[in-house]
């Protein structure tokens, strides 16, 4: 690829769309990731990503492409997220087992549907690794709308989410509807995972949910700061990741994840220095 001066990157429409949508998606995933990590539900993103793959194969088999495929993906992934909760409650399964069952079902359905539909194609493969630079204007609009929906829900339910994350028992005795809150959390995660498939794909979705949260947990001195730091890392890693991938002709999704890992190591170092400083 011909080298492009850094500032000229931002002129391209597809870069602008990628940065806007990528920032919004990464904030959603990072912020939700704080609650998922603390509730030891980190792998739910992986499970729902596999279901998204299955729903994408279903959409492609129905000749629904690009933004239209969300008409299938969103309801299927939402139902699957609630199915995970139901399995945990009624099936008396732990979270990882319930996620494993739903995840396997999603991937298997995707493979079967793909073979029925004539095999794997570029569209389906892009779900594995993401393809943020090909995001369309319609998909950006959907990302904006879903971002607003998810953030409004997060703001409305913020204290309930924190209370349930700290102790479900105490939250219940405070009158917090814990089942509803758990359902809200997994549904918001489902929406964010569907959006994030375009950014990082199935293989790396867990990274976007877990690593910013894990970094923030190393250094945050309050829950609010933790959520803010996670969101900030999400945005920084996406914007810088897109620029780096463009400059050095690297896969965008992997660049975003590697940057997240670098920031995580920086956070660990900061925590280490803080502990050493307070001990001396």
């Amino acid at each position: 690829m011909q080298e492009v001066p850094l500032m000229e990157i931002f002129v391209y429409g597809f870069v602008q769309r990628a940065m806007l949508a990528g920032s919004l998606i990464s904030v959603l995933c990072s912020v939700l990731g704080v609650f998922l990590v603390l509730r030891r539900m980190s792998l739910i993103g992986d499970g729902l990503a596999h279901v998204t793959f299955g729903s994408a194969a279903m959409a492609l088999a129905m000749k629904l492409y690009s933004a239209s495929s969300l008409l299938i993906s969103i309801p299927v992934v939402l139902l699957s997220s609630l199915g995970i909760l139901k399995l945990m409650e009624k099936g008396r399964l732990s979270g990882d087992a319930a996620i494993g069952i739903v995840s396997a079902a999603g991937i298997a359905a995707g493979i079967i549907l793909a073979s029925i539909g004539g095999g794997y194609n570029v569209d389906l493969l892009s779900y594995l690794f993401g393809n943020i630079l090909s995001i369309t204007f319609e998909e950006v609009c959907i990302a904006v709308v879903l971002f607003v929906v998810v953030m409004v829900m997060m703001l409305l339910f913020y204290n309930d989410l924190v209370a349930v994350t700290l102790s479900e028992e105490l939250a219940k005795v405070s009158g917090v509807p814990t089942r509803l809150i758990s359902s809200v959390l997994v549904c918001l995660t489902a929406l964010s995972v569907v959006l994030a498939m375009k950014l990082v794909g199935i293989m790396l979705i867990t990274a976007l949910l877990v690593i910013p949260a894990a970094s923030a947990l190393q250094v945050a001195r309050s829950f609010k700061i933790c959520v803010l730091l996670a969101g900030l890392q999400g945005v920084v890693s996406v914007l810088a990741g897109i620029v780096i991938s463009f400059q050095f002709n690297l896969p965008t999704s992997a660049s975003v994840v590697v940057l997240n890992l670098v920031l995580f190591m920086v956070a660990c170092l900061v925590r280490r220095l803080r502990v050493t400083g307070s001990n001396s």
Partner: protein
């Protein structure tokens, strides 16, 4: 006339075909300080969870402040300190102040927001429990005793009329335990807070509680500590020498 705070009638609970609580009938009046004692596996914690709607009943009924438990919504009147709430995750990012403020959610309607005027209540409660200096520390960084006081502050921040504590002193050293009993005893005396406290310290609690509830899947005794010490049933259960030791430990 005494106001009823808790009424349990023929309360039964079972887990996987095993009866954990068998037709328990108990009335707790306003201002009572009830020590709930019994051997391991006697159903003490299950009794507490049943009162709070945290486990389902296989029979009987419960009412809180005259309202059936299933339709009870005035959770700001109830404070709860569960057993073993020590933070497993030292990195849990909530500060002491944030943790205590969550106790105010029970008095709020959706969307539940912590307002700036709520901070005064939080500060007052932190000072009452002697943890105000820890307000900006992360909850996971505290010792077991400090965490216990923070979660007690969370239970008290709404000035509850009923305070339910499940083995609150299990992780505390004897000196801290005595201070803890003194503190909640003061709440009962000065604020008239109704207390229901599950403990293994039968002798110690007898020095504070106005009533003793001895459970072993069913109610074996319910009355004052004095009656407990002179009860022939308790004497038969513990043996006279042990009963004497328990009744004179405090």
């Amino acid at each position: 006339m005494q106001r009823e705070v808790i009424r349990a009638e023929n309360l039964s609970c079972s887990y996987t075909n095993s009866m954990v609580l068998d037709r328990i009938s108990v009335v707790v009046d306003a201002g009572d300080y009830v020590g709930v004692v019994g051997p391991n596996g006697s159903g003490k914690s299950t009794f507490i969870k049943a009162l709070l709607g945290l486990c389902s009943l296989s029979g009987g009924s419960i009412s809180l402040f005259g309202t059936p438990q299933a339709s009870f919504r005035q959770w700001e009147r109830v404070g709860y300190l569960p057993q073993s709430l020590a933070m497993q995750n030292a990195l849990f990012p909530a500060t002491v102040a944030e943790t205590v403020a969550l106790g105010l959610l029970s008095g709020k309607r959706f969307p539940r927001k912590i307002l700036s005027q709520d901070r005064y209540k939080v500060e007052q409660t932190l000072a009452l429990l002697g943890v105000d200096a820890l307000r900006n520390k992360l909850i996971g960084e505290l010792s077991g005793g400090q965490q216990q006081r923070v979660f007690l502050a969370r239970a008290l921040v709404n000035d509850p009329e009923l305070l339910i504590l499940d083995e609150p002193t299990a992780a505390l050293d004897p000196e801290t335990r005595e201070r803890f009993y003194g503190l909640i005893g003061d709440l009962n005396r000065t604020r008239g807070t109704t207390l229901l406290l599950v403990t293994h310290d039968t002798g110690v609690i007898g020095g504070y509680a106005s009533k003793m509830l001895y459970l072993d899947k069913s109610v074996l005794f319910y009355g004052s500590f004095d009656q407990f010490c002179h009860s022939s049933e308790m004497s038969a259960l513990f043996g006279s020498p042990s009963q004497h030791i328990i009744c004179h430990r405090h």
